[in-house]
Symmetry: D2
Subunit: 273 residues, 4 copies
């Protein structure tokens, strides 16, 4: 089933490196080819195992987004929203995955472009979110939002989060957004500290094109991709966001239960007693 598996570990983290070594031995013993070079993985791997946390999966997903290789995440301590196999269960669960016992789940991504006078000057892909944000903590920014070329509203805020369902439990949640099940085909728009009381998170269909036009008065704006990389956006430039053309696929243990992870991560059930 899986003949060649790419392993991605965190180069500076001894636990991640050590786990990756154990993993390689385990897989090679079973006659599976193991590679850890990104270029080779992109060409040859039919599964990528990420040894890290959700952050490592975000990074890996962006890197291999167009290579159509499923990803399985091993967390090194606490349960992740994405990396849901613990080191302790690793060999057990992998043995099952290798025989085809797994759940495969599709996750949408966002494609982000920054444009100046119609010219593309930056593009990236996000698994969690694209955030248009101020760099200068003293000033809010001002921008117009358009959906499919229709004007939505003018906003003054600390920023705007455009989120996938995957990202709905990340920064968007801290900013007051709803939880979107990964199966929902939608993009969420969640404003950060909006300078109005009539703000609400907005959900638009997955095939929508969102344009954020930065007002001339707003200096020091950046676009952030999954909270991991950023790019400066000048006044008058445009950030264009739509669902990316390909999806990534996460492999989970067969008894994977989205709501169980949500309950565990978000401490649901913690009622006022």
């Amino acid at each position: 089933m899986f003949n060649t598996i790419g392993i991605i570990s965190k180069p500076l983290d001894p636990v991640s490196k050590g786990t990756a070594v154990e993993l390689r031995q385990f897989l090679e013993t079973q006659g599976i080819g193991v590679i850890d070079d990104n270029a080779l993985i992109a060409e040859q791997a039919d599964l990528i195992i990420v040894v890290g946390g959700d952050g490592s999966i975000l990074n890996t997903a962006r890197t291999f987004v167009d290579n159509n290789i499923p990803i399985l995440g091993i967390n090194l301590g606490r349960l992740g929203f994405l990396a849901d196999v613990s080191v302790g269960q690793m060999f057990d669960l992998l043995s099952k995955v290798l025989t085809g016992e797994y759940t495969k789940e599709e996750r949408s991504l966002l494609s982000c472009q920054v444009e100046q006078d119609g010219q593309l000057i930056y593009q990236s892909v996000a698994l969690n979110d694209v955030v248009v944000n101020r760099q200068d903590a003293l000033k809010m920014i001002e921008f117009n939002v358009y959906i499919n070329d229709k004007f939505v509203n003018n906003q003054r805020a600390d920023g705007l989060i455009m989120t996938t369902p995957t990202g709905s439990t990340a920064y968007a949640l801290s900013s007051g957004g709803p939880i979107m099940h990964p199966g929902v085909n939608a993009i969420g728009l969640v404003s950060i500290c909006p300078h109005t009381m009539s703000h609400r998170p907005l959900l638009v269909p997955g095939d929508s094109e969102i344009v954020v036009r930065i007002k001339d008065s707003s200096e020091g704006v950046s676009v952030h991709i999954d909270g991991q990389t950023s790019f400066p956006v000048a006044p008058g430039q445009v950030v264009r966001v739509r669902q990316h053309s390909s999806f990534i696929h996460l492999l989970h243990p067969q008894d994977y239960d989205y709501f169980e992870i949500i309950r565990s991560k978000l401490h649901w059930g913690s009622q006022l007693s």
Copy 2:
């Protein structure tokens, strides 16, 4: 295009009745058959014009949900989310609609069943929302929520709103839910005054089946359909909600703009100045 048009007006409202009479004359002058009997409308009408507000459209949509007749709403005063043609523009816009100049929009509905020991004891359809709510204002209710047979959480709250995108700007908005564009294929779950701080609105895919199981301790619970009709739900009974198998179609003027209505109704742009 439209040979037979049903007109629905509010029987006790003279303005609605008067407008309906004018409308009938206008249509008949153009050689269009006009009917106002519900049974006939269900059989013969190829368009329903509702002379009332959003409430009248909710009611009409539920009545004719399975007859596949498009609905156009004329509001008698203020702009509605659904009834977006004003009396003043009525003849102008209808003339255009009759020649095919309109926008047709699909809206999903919710099917709601109440069950006792697996027996169906009540069913209805909602265009806005199905609300499981307490009748006794002194006591909160307790229930378990399941999505597609998976346990989601146990809640103690004043109630739970299950909303379509259409209903997301109604009661769900008052309870802190997000705005869902009608094109989003999803169902929203918004708790009313949840007795926990870790609550968030939850969006699930449109093909999800939601089950709310009332705890034995919770007396005096009702299920409310579009805020217009209700049915008592006893402890141990189950409320089952899924997207209805057919959609309704709203006709709008050709320049219909969802976000313009949202801005107008929700006073977007009212920034802190």
Copy 3:
């Protein structure tokens, strides 16, 4: 220090009754008079011990609000916001309290009057909150709010909570209100499912007089006192709320820490991980 102690237990709860009996023996052994008749307590007790939960303390506080007798709460299971001595620690902590080792804390209450044409028709006192609420779960209510005779706003909502700092962690919290430290001299106004997006909880000084005037269109409104008793309010009637003239005093163990209880009850520290 305390010569005569009143014990309040829950008449229908065997655990509460049994604990009350043990408590009586313990106190009488130490030469302290114990009484359990309300009329006698009001006259003679210099301490009231409540064996129950927060609900029992609310009830007791309202009953003896003008008798200036401190109250100590013993909870029968889970920690209460108000009843913070567990049965397990009961004798230990009481021994200390009897020798003067305790923290005495003042809590404000709300006085509530319902008036018809200037005539008083109902009055009560609340330790948590006064809630003006609809009885009919299908209809929202409409009312005007005035502070010190100044018009504040017109609201359409499911209801309005007027809360003491004590009540800020009760129903007001479920409705989106802030946490108010008991030392804050203020009254909180928190709307329930307000039919507007520009709503926010409002804090006014403790010496404010709040008037809620029910609109003529709003039938089936009630005023609820601590979620324990209620009184119907007719359209045109007025609910007048101000801080009650006397306070109640809670006795706590000497190491009482408000924020520790808040952390424990509200599960603070439960971060997204």
Copy 4:
């Protein structure tokens, strides 16, 4: 009544300068001395008139906080929360103010200190708010909060706002805080995008001392005063906030109505229709 009046205008704003010149003429005609030098104002003025917006009043309040001179604000366009006299009404209302027809209102301020190993390294005063905030838009910060030396909680967030009632309608409102009437003697703590779902705004008594201790892992933190000036805070340093020892006094027209300004600024009454 007022013999010497200081006028503060915005040096780079011709409208503000022009209005200040008119104002000076108007006052001098009435035999009132007018000064515009800060040092002189601090010594001699018995009233300060600010020609600008709320921002100019914040700045003026901080500058003269300990000089006990009342402040009156003239706004140059839109109504301010603080600058509530319009240019159009200016001469009319000032004529009345000069004869003693005005409302005097006390507003509390916050004193902010940054300390390193017990050494004071920065201090300032804020009329609106003290904000502990990240400078780096990619990382959230971590800190512990203490009230009167009691641990409150550990937070991971974009920042923390400590607000006066005056500031409750500014940045704190955008972050989800309640509206605090200026007469409430309290300090509000409102977290910015907290990485937890169990967060709520917290109100503590006005005489509380709040300490925010920045965790060692949090680089690039700043403290912001009224959104106008900032100071970097290193890991391990402490931000100490308490009510400032003196208040400022705002003069308003005699018919000043706090709730009228709130309604106007926050668009209250904008109900979902």
